[in-house]
Symmetry: C2
Subunit: 137 residues, 2 copies
Amino acid sequence: MFDIKHHHAAMSVPNLEDSIGWYERVLGFKLERRFHIPAIPADCAMLKRDGLRIELFHVARAKAAGEERRHPDSDAQTHGNKHAAFAVRDIAPVERELRARGADIVFVKKHEMGANIFIRDNAGNLIEFVQQPEMWS
Amino acid sequence: MFDIKHHHAAMSVPNLEDSIGWYERVLGFKLERRFHIPAIPADCAMLKRDGLRIELFHVARAKAAGEERRHPDSDAQTHGNKHAAFAVRDIAPVERELRARGADIVFVKKHEMGANIFIRDNAGNLIEFVQQPEMWS
């Protein structure tokens, strides 16, 4: 079977510049390139950090995401692709740093498998962080 | 800023067993663990392959994804989290292997930046593969 690696997580956003700025400021991504997809049509940006990528689509007059997409519990009540999740060493300092940068925290949970935190980006898109210290050992 | 790595891409599916089977058969993922999230409530499965993970949620009586989510061009017309994308060395053999396993191919495109292919999983969720041979060099 062919090899695969992570390439990107995609999202459609209402304001491309605001979203590029948020991912740079809050999560440390850098703009890798801008491009246009005529078939949609969409103005796009690929952001990169440490081999991880986020692809942003901006489509004129796109519809707003439903309110149910702003919380993971309600988001799962509709089938489809959902959030991307990043591993972190330790949730506590991640929560502190995210709060210090003004991130919109949905919840922080500690549970039998460790801990996780959900935030919303500037456009309301959910992003999860999962505590996985063993991924750095 | 805190370190991050890929952890998973999440999706909500109508039939958990069918989806586990599809990701095992077509993309070579293996079931890592099953768990229940009472707050949703959802029966979940974490699938893993080569450090990549896909998290499947099954929620009783969840709503179907809209038809617009079945094609990347129409999917981008609504804001929100979209598809996950995997890097591959070469699109041509990936397309052949996916077709041989009965994957639902949305399109294959060759363009100035390389090539990519979109498929739908057994539940209609979009997945992208991006040709990135330099990621193996």
